[in-house]
Amino acid sequence: MEAISVDKLCRDYYLKNELIHAINNISYTFEYGKFYAIMGHSGSGKSTLIQCMGLLDKVDSGKIYIDGENVSSLKEHSKNEIRNKKIGFIFQDYYLNNTMKAYENVMLPMLINDKYNKTDMKKRAKELLKLVGLEDRVNHYPKELSGGEQQRVAIARALANSPSIILADEPTGNLDEFTEKYVLEKLRKLADEGNCVIVVSHNPVIVEYADYVLKMKSGRFIYEG
């Protein structure tokens, strides 16, 4: 089933009067239950694409459909709603709030979701941390955690509102091989559970986990398979 689909998507940047096509007319459909790997050289437009699909960046032309709904023309508050409930974001730099404990970080997306009250939130945050193997790090601050543990907290946070689409921008960029394997396996499992998982990575090992590998160059997919 179709999760995100982009249609003739374009995103341009002007840098010192020079036009850069960060995304150059991409059309593609991402499906549920599949693991997509996006690869390519630095500056090829991977981050821009994933941010556009996650409604974090505006597009210059083209359309984005999520669950068949054209979201590029939606009002801001509806976009927020989609970001909150349907999409889970994971970044290379985990962007945890250093003054919050691990479970409080995981609670953040739930704070603006009316579905949960405070006790539910806490309970769910702890469950999610258990899911990523951090049940004994619940009350730790990010500074007391290793890079890999921090990224796992970030993954738990991305899963807080049970999104069906996971967008990850180089989630394993700062991790060692062992933790990288753990994180990729977790993402693979999420795809097997029926979610749409899209991961940007430089690392060729990702090919082992992905159903589809998309190669980008100058804002286009040059290889799909």
């Binding site: 996650g54 801001e76 909150n84 999409i87 962007y95 709030n97 919050m100 953040l108 704070l111």
Partner: protein, 389 residues
């Protein structure tokens, strides 16, 4: 989102940003500058204006005439004159049977307003100061002097026996007056009625050959306000010769006060400018943390509110710290000062400046948050226009 969550986020965000330490530091410095410059001004203003209006001697003119008897009625009828008294009956230092000394002045019965007790009458009564020192005024206001300052209220109803020329005269303390209002910087001065003063001085002169209270001696004219003194002196000067018993230069005091005021104002203006420039610079959006909040689905409205709340917390936090510092400094100053010297300067804190500095910090913080939000370059939120601040 619930109010509690806003507070939670604002507090966490407040402690998250290191820049808030600098912001708080700046706000504290500025608050302290405002409060201390205003309090300094208030302290000196009160000191100078009290010492120029409070001390009776500053309000007194000596009128003399070589040729004629001075027309007291005429003097009394001049606008702004409180009362007229002959030089001989003006003042007397009396010794009590306990070897204590009191400076006595003769005044009209209703001239001195009392804080406690009753007004003067022609009975044998005196009224004494709130802060009372029984002795000759010392050369230095040292620790020993301060230790001998008494609460005048304890003497209410007390009978002093004055020893004058081997006579014993009993006088009762019936009222207590405010030192600052009549005898600024004097602590051993009491007042009695003009009639009593006359009696006491007659007793004093009893054994003195050729001494008498002269009908045509010089007279003292006491004016209502020190500011009117020059004008009244001019008026009297057309008929008699006039001089001041203690010279006080009101234009100089006015000049000193306006200089202080100007300096305070300049400090305040500088503080506001510095505060404004710096906070405008520092109160920026945290780009990265906002990216992640946006990714989690937070709306601009929520982020903006949290940002405002965070800066509000910053202001309150800095204010509390400033107040603690002010209180500590004030008590250290007060203790040290009371222990060592008593010069007649009371230290004041300007309450208005406390209120003012808080309002100023609040206003500037809110304004600069607004500016930071409006400044699109500093903001990751591209669709800020969509949201109402």
């Amino acid at each position: 989102m619930r109010g509690k969550s806003y507070l939670f986020l604002a507090f966490k965000s407040f402690f998250h940003k290191k820049i808030n330490i600098i912001n708080a530091f700046l706000l504290i410095i500025c608050t302290l500058l405002i409060i201390f410059s205003c309090s300094f001004f208030k302290t000196f203003y009160t000191f100078l204006s009290n010492s120029s209006t409070g001390n009776l001697s500053y309000r007194t003119l000596r009128v003399s005439s070589d040729y004629s008897v001075i027309d007291k009625k005429w003097l009394e009828e001049i606008d702004g004159v409180s009362y007229v008294i002959s030089e001989d009956e003006y003042r007397l230092t009396v010794k009590t049977n306990n070897d204590e000394y009191i400076n006595l002045y003769g005044v009209p019965n209703d001239f001195i307003k009392v804080n406690k007790g009753e007004l003067l009458t022609d009975d044998e009564v005196i009224i004494c100061p709130e802060t009372f020192y029984l002795g000759l005024e010392p050369e230095n206001y040292n620790k020993e002097f301060v230790s001998k300052l008494h609460d005048g209220s304890n003497y209410l109803g007390e009978i002093f026996t004055f020893i004058i020329n081997e006579h014993e005269l009993d006088y009762t303390v019936v009222g207590i007056f405010d030192n600052d209002k009549y005898t600024y910087g004097e602590y051993n001065t009491c007042f009695t009625s003009i009639t009593n003063m006359h009696k006491l001085i007659e007793t004093e002169l009893e054994n003195c050959e050729g001494c008498y209270i002269s009908e045509d001696s010089n007279v003292y004219v006491i004016v209502d306000h020190v500011n009117d003194k020059d004008e009244i002196a001019k008026k009297i000067g057309s008929k008699y010769s006039v001089d001041e018993i203690i010279q006080i230069n009101t234009p100089t005091i006015t000049f000193i006060l306006s200089t202080f005021l100007a300096v305070t104002a300049i400090i305040l203006i500088f503080v506001f400018i510095i505060l404004f420039i710096l906070t405008k610079k520092f109160m920026t959006y945290n780009k990265e943390s906002n990216l992640i909040y946006k990714a989690m689905g937070y709306s601009n409205k929520v982020l903006v509110r949290v940002n405002y709340l965070e800066n509000l917390i910053l202001v309150v936090f800095s204010f509390i710290i400033s107040m603690i510092i002010v209180i500590i400094i004030y008590f250290i100053l007060l203790n040290k000062y009371n222990a060592d010297i008593k010069t007649g300067i009371n230290i004041y804190i300007s309450y208005l400046s406390i209120f003012g500095s808080f309002t100023a910090c609040l206003l500037i913080s809110l304004l600069s948050t607004r500016f930071a939000l409006k400044d699109k370059k500093k903001s990751i939120i591209e669709e800020l226009d969509d949201c109402e601040i």
